[in-house]
Amino acid sequence: MRQGEMAAVIDLNEDVHTLLPLTEHRPIGTLPFAGRYRLIDFPLSAITAADIHSVGLFMPESERSVQDHIRSGAAWNLDLIQGGVFLFPYVATRDYQNDDLRARYYENYTQFLRGSGSKYTVVMGAKNVANVNLNAILNYHKAGDNRITTVYKKLPLSRIRPTDWTLALSEQGTASAIVQAKERHDDQGKTEIPSFMDIYLLATTDLIDLLEDAAQSREFRRLPELLRDYVLANNANAFEYTGYLARIDSIQRYYDSNLQMLDDANFQSLLLSSVPILTKSKNEVPSFFAKDATVVNSLLGTGTYIEGTVQDSVVFRNVVIHHDALVDHAVVMQGSKISTGSTVKYAILDKGVVIGPNLTIVGKPDKPIVLRKNQTVFRESEVEGSANA
């Protein structure tokens, strides 16, 4: 096997508390998306398309969920004779008070990076859903003047929240810092803000130096923080991404982004663009549509069984929707079941939710109801926040 020019690091330790209860037993990286995928499929597919052979996954607390999805990495051509996927076990932040564990945190990275034999390394998270071409970013990095390259997308002000990370761009188009939107100045009159996509690309040797310096300190800092400071100290090339971007860091954004996939332009940009999105495939039967079924303006996974009506919704695999049931503006995950005569609207149903017959579960467009994994509902009063509860 030829050694790749780039290695990749995906840090799955992303803050989950704003996505509870969906993230109770899974990291952001394994949240289901668009009727078919998990969020981590997007960075992994970008990696595969760029012919990257060494991927270090730094595991979150819910390791099991990631392992179940990744398995050998074969779905992304990462079950290789050399390189492949390296999983680094989760260690809680509090445990890094321990000198040995702290040293090991940095050593895991540097060992992995040295072993990869790659000249460049890209560092990514999973919560930015996009279809990025890493080779284009690499070429941009090589052509740029700075030691590190960052990636952003211009978003309208209306889609930026005060806590979002953004790039402070110079007039030459380089990034002088990564700052939260609320700390920005001089944005008067601007309608768009360069939203930072948590992607860094730099020389592997530079990254190793950075980690070795950090290992000397008694204070524990995760890689993303180190890289933020590195940008501040060195300036960065700023690569503009122009495709579809969703930042999954709240329930509302998760809900909205799923429904945005019903817009054909978004669907094409994310799922039928230059990078084919790969995911673990399960052996499932085709979806079946009964005599009175109606499915309009919706995405469906395979193995669903539809007797009722689905509209403006995203429905994952193996979902059953019975006669006279209505699913409307909802995200319904794998294996859920909606019984005869029930209505589910403005809602997110996690995996394996069962809704009994003749119920009305209705949230609000700007505050969808969330039902937990395997929750069984036979009375409307069991559902918190339903408009009809």
Partner: protein, 380 residues
């Protein structure tokens, strides 16, 4: 290395009665039921029966079949020292060898079979739609102390004239065999599924090819020879859904039966799954104008039209204003806008341009071949 029972799938036939659909591909790799290919049923039966060493004998346009089967991993048939092997014609120091009949194909692949040293060889076709537990058939074979067991199915007496028909005694021993009899004496039709003790079968084949070489076909040559030599030959009765999909008409019927909610195949039964290759395709997309009823749709499909009592395979596109009725659409087919498709089979990668019409009748199914382009196609 030793295997109790080795499976051998005869997948070499050209399938001429499937016309355009098998011009460039072997019959077992023809798509079926939305996300399957015909051979998936046999391969899944083997996996579910615990038969994990399988040779697939092929010689007619095998590229697509090879790509589909790959290393057998999709069916769990990829264990070290076992798994699926594709067997094609080859040359040896004695010359070049194409396969001239079902039994001849086994004879030509003796070296492969012997390398696993099996006690039993299970001979199967690659073009039947059914679910069957071969382990139970083997238990029957052992209990009867048979050297050959033939799976049989009751058929109507009219149908019986089209099959090889077995007469049995009350111990299920086969006492006579007639190929397509005019006046059938029994309703037990051979399904083309055999369990042989390997040692005697090998001897029959070797003796034949050392002398007259007449042992070409199992039905015509081998079974009569076994009966003539008084080999203990038994009939194993199968009761369940079974369909030979060797003609356009039967392929269409089997697909329509597959659509029925009461289909006895019970495809959703997780204790006897039908496996296939799994590709990572996008979810199905239904636009505001979609209408889909009494139908099956598969991953990667995009539906803006009306689909009624039909099957859409992977990656099928159906444009606005189009209507598909009582039809089977194979993978990657593109159906334009305002198209009418009725009682038809549309081949893989075919294109039916805007305003096109493909209309057949219940007893005369319309067929569009693989990659064929019909009707007007607008520029992209």
């Amino acid at each position: 290395m030793s295997t109790e029972m080795l499976g051998m799938i005869l997948a070499g036939g050209q399938g001429t009665r499937l016309g355009k659909l098998t011009k460039n591909t072997a019959k077992p790799s023809v798509p079926f039921g939305g996300r399957y290919r015909i051979i998936d049923f046999t391969l899944s039966n083997l996996s579910n029966s615990g038969v994990n060493t399988v040779g697939v004998i092929t010689q007619y346009q095998p590229l697509e079949l090879n790509r589909h089967v790959q290393n057998g991993a999709s069916w769990g048939l990829n264990e070290r020292g076992a798994g699926v092997t594709i067997l094609q014609p080859y040359a040896s120091s004695e010359g070049e060898k194409f396969f001239e009949g079902t039994a001849h194909a086994i004879y030509q692949n003796m070296a492969y079979i012997d390398s696993y040293n099996p006690q039993y060889v299970l001979i199967l076709s690659g073009d039947h739609i059914y679910k069957m537990d071969y382990e139970r058939m083997l238990a029957f074979h052992k209990a009867k102390k048979a050297t050959l067991t033939v799976a049989v199915m009751p058929v109507s007496l009219e149908e019986a004239t089209r099959f090889g028909i077995m007469n049995t005694d009350d111990t299920d021993r086969i006492i006579a065999f007639e190929e397509k009899p005019e006046k059938p004496k029994s309703d037990l039709a051979s399904m083309g599924i055999y369990i042989f003790d390997w040692a005697p079968l090998k001897k029959y084949l070797m003796d034949s090819y050392a002398t007259d070489g007449k042992m070409e076909d199992f039905g015509k040559d081998v079974i009569p020879a076994y009966l003539a030599h008084n080999e203990p030959t038994f009939a194993y009765a199968f009761h369940g859904y079974w369909k030979d999909v060797g003609t356009i008409q039967s392929l269409w019927e089997a697909n329509m039966e597959f659509l029925s909610p009461n289909n006895p195949l019970n495809i959703t039964n997780r204790n006897w799954r039908i496996y296939s290759q799994n590709e990572a395709l996008p979810p199905m997309f239904f636009t505001k104008s979609a209408k889909v009823q009494r139908s099956m749709v598969t991953d990667g499909s995009y539906v803006a039209g009306t689909v009624e009592h039909s099957i859409l395979s992977q990656n099928v596109k159906v444009g606005e204003g189009s209507t598909i009725t009582d039809s089977m659409i194979m993978p990657n087919a593109v159906i334009g806008k305002n198209v009418v498709i009725d009682h038809a089979i549309i081949g893989e990668d075919a294109v039916v341009g805007d305003n096109g019409e493909v209309i057949g009748k219940p007893d005369d199914i319309a067929v569009i071949g693989y990659g064929e382009v019909v009707g007007r196609k607008e520029k992209a």
